[in-house]
Each structure stands twice: as C-alpha cells, then as structure tokens.
Amino acid sequence: MPDRDDVARKLALADILVEDILNMSDSEVLAEAKDDGISPDEALARVKGRFKAAETNLSKAKLKAARAAVDNDRQRANVVRLETKDIERYRKAIRHGDGLTLAARNGTHMSTNDELNLIEDMIELGIDIDDKE
C-alpha cells in the first residue's frame, strides 16, 4: 500500500472527483445544473464577482502599503525638530566658527535655508554646541 500522508488521503477522493468534473461535457454540466436548479448565468456572475473582489482587495492592500510608506517617510522627515533656542545657539556657533570645520564656518555667507539645513545636519550627526551664555 502506498505511503501517503493524512492530507493527501483526505484529498484523494476530491482529486478523482475533480478530474471527473474537468472531463464533463458542457451538456452534462448543464443537465446537472438544471437538475440542481442552478443557473449558469448566476454562477458566472458569482465567479466574476469573486475575481473582481480579489482585484479590489489587492488594490486596497497596495494603497494601504503606499500610504504606510508615505507616513514612514513623513515620520523620518520629522526626526529633527528645531527649537528656536537651538537654532540661535547653533547659528551663533556657525557664524563665529566656534570649534567648527572650515566648511561649517562659512555660515556668514549662507542663506537662511542653508543655515537651517546645516543645523539639522549637525543635530542629526550628534554635533552638540555648548551654550556659552
């Protein structure tokens, strides 16, 4: 006797019957459906409805994933929050060149946006500026 696992044994009869269903002629299927009181048109609508539902669910899942990715990006963008007192502290350090590299010491020629970006970068990099006042 072949060694077969329990799931295969449970599906063995289904396998034979499915093969029979696949081999049935159209007239045999229609005769059985008529006998069972099932409309082929209604069956078709149900099957197409299930396909449509699968497509809709997939679109929703993709949209959800896209929204989650956007939210994730937003959260990452908000990691550095600049407080007014911090801006002033870092700005003074940049403009005076206190303990900073040459590149950072060019703060006096920077636009306000460039200066803020530099402060964000410094905070992100963990460069701390002592408040001497």
């Binding site: 009869l13 019957l17 029979d20």
Partner: protein, 186 residues
C-alpha cells in the same frame, strides 16, 4: 524589485481576458471544484483566494495548461496547505480566570476559525456516511484513499470501465447534492 515572470507563463492581462471570456459552464465547474476541496460554505472564499494568489503573482498560469485545470491546482494547493497548517496548530484560546480580568488561561478552542473549518471538514467521512449501505461505493472510496489505481479498483469492485465511471459519477452527484443542500441550509 518586481519579480520577473518566467516566459512560459501567461501574464495577468491574459488571466483577465480569460475571466472575461469565461462561460457559464466553466463557472459551474469552478464552483463545483471548490466544493470538492472545502466545505460548501467556504467554497466561494477558496475560489477568491485562488484568484488573489494569481493576481499577487504567487501562482503563475503556465502556458501549457488550460485555465480550469490550473485553477483546480491552485485551489487544491490552498486547501492542502490550510489543512496541513490546522493539523499542526494546537487549538488554543485565551480565557480570563474566574473573577480576574488581568490573568488568562489557554484552553482547547471549541470554536473554529475559517482555517479550522477547512481542516475539520472531511469529505471522506461525509462520503462514507452517504454510502454506508452501498458496498461497491464504500470499497471504491476506501481503495482510492488507500492509493489504489483505477485498474486495481475496478478489479476490487468487480467493475468494468463503464461501471467505474458510473460509480465515480454517482459519488460525485450525491456529494454535490449534499453540498448544495448545506449551502441552502446555511
């Protein structure tokens, strides 16, 4: 990175075209096939899950296989996987201790999840029950479950080719009628 689709499979546009062109007879067959793999109440969900796997790219439609046999393979695979999962999963649920809402016990779960229903549903038991007084049908069923081949079953049941087809069709019809009755009673 998107998954590359092998050249010998059909793309999703071809799947959609095939679904668009589906006939009523093919839809009847798909519904019947689903009812052979899971309980009738779960059959529509099995069909939808098969569509989902195909749309997600989990299952590709090979160029050399007709659509209905392919769908039958996908549905069988899902039913088989779910049964294996439920067979190996301990049926536990969390319940509060008496008079205490913060601590819980785990006990055997008497109520099945949808996956449990797939696992608990047993067409073999249903078939044996339906054909309890029919020696030929019960021998045929037991022989199939035991893995006997068609010729062996014919010899065992003393059937010729026509007789074998007749018994197969008889079992299929009785099970289908029972499934449809379950749908109406649900």
């Amino acid at each position: 990175m998107t998954k590359a689709i092998p050249k010998d499979v059909r793309d999703l546009d071809e799947v959609r075209e095939r679904i668009d062109g589906l006939t009523g007879v093919e839809a009847l067959k798909l519904e019947q096939i689903a009812r052979r793999f899971v309980a009738s109440c779960d059959a529509p969900d099995l069909l939808q899950e098969a569509f989902s796997r195909i749309l997600e790219g989990g299952r590709n439609w090979p160029s050399d296989i007709e659509f209905l046999p392919f769908m039958a393979q996908v549905m069988r695979s899902i039913a088989s996987t779910e049964r294996r999962k439920t067979d190996s999963r301990p049926e536990l649920r969390v319940v509060p201790h008496h008079g205490e809402q913060l601590t819980f016990d785990t006990v055997a779960d008497p109520n099945g999840t949808p996956e449990d229903i797939v696992g608990e549903w047993d067409e073999l038991a249903a078939a044996r029950e339906l054909f309890a007084g029919d020696d030929t049908a019960t021998t045929y069923i037991d022989a199939i479950v035991a893995g006997f081949r068609r010729q062996e079953i014919m010899e065992l049941c003393d059937l010729d080719a026509n007789g074998y087809e007749t018994v197969t069709r008889r079992i299929k019809r009785r099970l289908e009628k029972r499934s449809l009755k379950d749908v109406h009673n649900a």
